[in-house]
């Protein structure tokens, strides 16, 4: 089916998320939509899928103008979508999720689960998916959940399939399998729109590439273009894709973690008997697919997890029995994974956010009063030093872009004397320009002799920063390997396969 978008415009208040976007996807073609976070890719696809109503422009399928009042209409017209955040109901089974919205029923409105199961099995077998229709979605690994999403779309007879950032949650091997599935779908005549900001994937699978920046189409590219060319088109200027860093000057062991386990509220060992050491002046990157215990590990280091067993020693001092306040006072800096949830108070000003962790005494607070003058001076210095693009230190943090918000968090954490720096997903949802800056600051912190732990699900980031790489899988450490370990080895480790002998670092 041929899909055509003509002059699509979508505004949110004064923000123009899509500005007269034209896009044509031929039948049986894989068309990549490349752009940075916030460039307007997802908005465009939500317009296509009927979740948003466009302010202007039209959608055509096989040269016929369509009007979608909601996703139901889009689905009926043959458009399917695999969402970035899966649209699956965790407490339902696979079959229930697939049948939802077009349920087969027996007499009296009773659900016909047998038909739904058969449908799941049929599609699953056609593509070799191996999905159990009676499994609870919550129990499935994310890779399988994504297949359920694909089955769901195909069960609606979708002939245009949109994949919205599908690889963000996958291991490199699962990503390869997904590419294979996309090619299979293409051969069966399905048109595919593949949204991503990862250059490697684009070049591997795309037939054509359209690049979007700040809500506008800025050009088309061929899959043979180099990474540097594509990145320049995406960002609008030449970018350095690699981080320049010197050989590490490694000192003595600073952070020593032994037999650490973190238990969640239902008794699962989300971090399972983990031991590692980080020395002064080195970056240990923790790699792994999202949800394999990295979040809980970093939270345990800062004292945010309630049920922890084992030992965490920083410069010989035990931290597990301590509390967050004491751990911060011991010089631990922390960039949380979700800055809007845990890192910043959106309704507070930049200045107030910069002193969030130092409200307990001098120099920011004296006799119970916030020292406004001191704070303003401090905030102005930090904003300048960390290149936060803002109208002033009194602007609410919630109004800043992702990259500038993250710089505020970074500024707060790095403006203390640190004895350990923990950064979880430091560049998630951050523009390329800010990524360069944040990476430089992290390397500078290392060079100042601070032990650094960086958690990232992006292998590019891991490779750029790491002196050593620790891979986690299902709460355990699969292995700790040198920073220059090849991607395919890391990929296998992220799927739980231990590295070959002698690869350890």
């Amino acid at each position: 089916m041929k899909l055509e978008l003509r002059g699509i415009t979508k505004r949110f208040g004064s923000l123009v998320a899509n500005d007269h976007i034209d896009l044509t996807v031929e039948a049986g073609e894989i068309h990549c939509l490349l752009g940075e976070n916030g460039a307007g890719k997802s908005t465009l696809m939500n317009v296509l899928y009927g979740l948003y109503q466009a302010d202007d422009g039209e959608v055509l399928l096989d040269d016929e103008v369509m009007h979608f009042a909601g996703p139901g209409d889009a689905m009926a017209a043959g458009i399917g979508m695999v969402h970035q955040h899966f649209m699956l109901i965790p407490v339902f089974t696979v079959a229930e999720n697939v049948m939802l919205g077009h349920e087969a029923t027996k007499a009296g409105g009773i659900l016909d689960l047998a038909t739904a199961r058969a449908r799941v099995r049929e599609i699953s077998d056609r593509f070799g998916f191996d999905v159990d229709p009676d499994a609870l979605v919550d129990d499935l690994p994310v890779g399988v959940q994504q297949r359920v999403e694909i089955i769901k779309a195909l069960s609606h007879d979708a002939r245009v399939l949109v994949f919205d950032e599908p690889t963000a949650v996958l291991t490199p091997q699962e990503t390869d399998e997904l590419m294979q599935i996309m090619r299979q779908l293409k051969e069966s005549g399905t048109s595919i729109v593949f949204i991503t900001h990862k250059l490697r994937e684009v070049r591997e699978v795309a037939d054509r590439i359209t690049v979007i920046r700040l809500g506008k189409v800025v050009g088309e590219a061929s899959p043979t273009a180099s990474n540097v060319e594509l990145a320049a088109l995406m960002v609008g200027r030449a970018v350095e894709l690699t981080v320049h860093k010197e050989e590490p000057k490694i000192g003595e062991a600073a952070l020593v973690v032994e037999g650490l386990s973190v238990i969640d509220h239902i008794g699962q060992l989300v971090v399972n008997d983990v031991s590692f050491t980080v020395r002064k002046g080195e970056i240990l990157a923790v790699a792994g697919v999202q949800g394999n215990g990295q979040t809980e590990l970093t939270e345990a280091l800062v004292g945010l997890q309630p049920r922890v067993q084992g030992s965490i020693k920083l410069d010989g001092v035990e931290l597990t029995t301590s509390n967050v306040r004491k751990i911060l006072d011991a010089g631990v800096g922390f960039i949380p994974e979700d800055r809007n949830e845990d890192g910043l108070v959106g309704e507070f000003s930049i200045a107030e956010n910069l002193m969030l962790d130092r409200s307990n005494g001098a120099p920011f607070v004296k006799a119970g009063n916030v020292q406004r003058g001191f704070l303003a001076e401090f905030a102005r210095d930090r904003v300048k030093e960390f290149d936060v693009r803002t109208q002033g230190i009194d602007e609410k943090v919630g109004r800043l872009s992702g990259g500038n918000q993250q710089k505020v968090v970074l500024a707060r954490e790095l403006s203390r004397d640190l004895s350990l720096f923990v950064a979880a997903q430091p560049t998630r949802g951050v523009d390329v320009g800010s990524i360069e800056f944040i990476h430089k600051r992290i390397v500078a912190t290392r060079d100042a002799g601070v032990p650094v732990v960086v958690v990232s699900t992006e292998l590019d980031e891991v490779a750029a920063l790491a002196d050593r790489i620790m891979v986690m899988y299902r709460g355990r450490i699969v292995g700790i390997v040198p920073g220059d370990t090849p991607r395919d080895v890391l990929g296998l480790m992220m799927a739980g396969e231990a590295p070959a002998e002698g690869a350890a670092a």
Binding site: G72, V91, L100, H102, G109, H265, I266, L269
Partner: protein, 429 residues
Amino acid sequence: MSTTAEHHRTAPQPDALDTTVVTSWKAPIAFAVFTLLALALAVFAPREGVTKFRLSSPTDAVQLPEITVPTMPALWTVVVLLALVTAYSAWLVASKKRVPLWTIVVFAILFMFGFLTWAAAGASLPMIGLLFGSLSLAVPLIFGSLAGVLGERVGVINIAIEGQLLAGAFTAAVVASITGQPWFGLLAAMVAGMLVAFVLAAFAIKYFVDQVIVGVVLNVLVTGLTSFFFSQVLAPNAALLNTPPRFDRWPIPVLGDIPIIGPVFFRQTVVVYLMYIAVAAVYIGLFHTKWGLRLRAVGEHPQAADTVGINVNRTRFWNVALAGAIAGLGGTFFTIGSGIAFNKEMTAGAGFIALAAVIFGQWDPIKATLAALLFGFASNLQNTLSVIGSPVPSEFMLMLPYVVTIFAVAGLVGKVRGPAAAGKPYIKS
């Protein structure tokens, strides 16, 4: 309190995480407290004589013999057994095992038996009356909790159950009095409950007002309105407007003659039979029909439901209205269900106890019904004991249903997860 997963999970996934048991000393400590309480009764307030448990009423076709128990030996036996269960649970926790649900059930039954034996010493305890009354008192709670389950499962927290019950009770009394027909009263009560629900739905779904606040305000509004009409309109014209006819009891043939079960369950009024049907219908509807699948999807992950073409807000609106109708139906119990004239604030917090039953029942219609029955039993125990002249002060016993509620809900907090999107409005751009 132990909890069970809502779905029976199939074989565990091969790559499931290792687990460890999070043990809690809650159960052994609670057991120990109640054991000491029983011991205190035996030591400080011993009562002589025997206790009789009557299992049939004089009109029954099949007459069961009375069971006679010597009071003090029975109480001491119970104390010893309670101590044993307590020790067993403490041993389980100490060796890192879970305390299974059955120990809690066994403990509760033992304690109840011991307490009743002690409280009714020298008298004869009418078991049929106790259970029959428990079921009757539980009827509005059950209807209310079904309304709560439906509301929260579809994503709208319904604090206004109390108001819906009261509106139902009021309307049923007035309409039945005027028409002389309890059936019209019943229909009118459902409409009244639904009207209250419309207000809740409109504010919560359309205007995104905090659902809890709307619910509380609605309760106050309905209380005020019904009290106003009661004192200004109903009281002066009581003969015309507030002498509702009642539903007669309809004993069901055969079923009604089964010993114990018959008189308790099958010699009730039509309101109670409607309750059986409602519980079954809501259960089957929620878990086995298209309607229930969509309803639960909307309450768990509204955006996912939206992306497969389900109209989230329309689904919410009509199911909240349906829940209101069910709660309104429950309100009829207070007036035409029992043949009592309407009185100010006569629901006396039943809607809030129903809300507790929703949580205690883990958002499951059957479990919520069982929870409501427990609360009904606690209420009726107080009535029965005061009738047979037990030494327990009636003010203390009046407190019982609420104490049970607090413990039941507190024991579950943090252990069960309600519908993920309950209380969150669905806002589309």
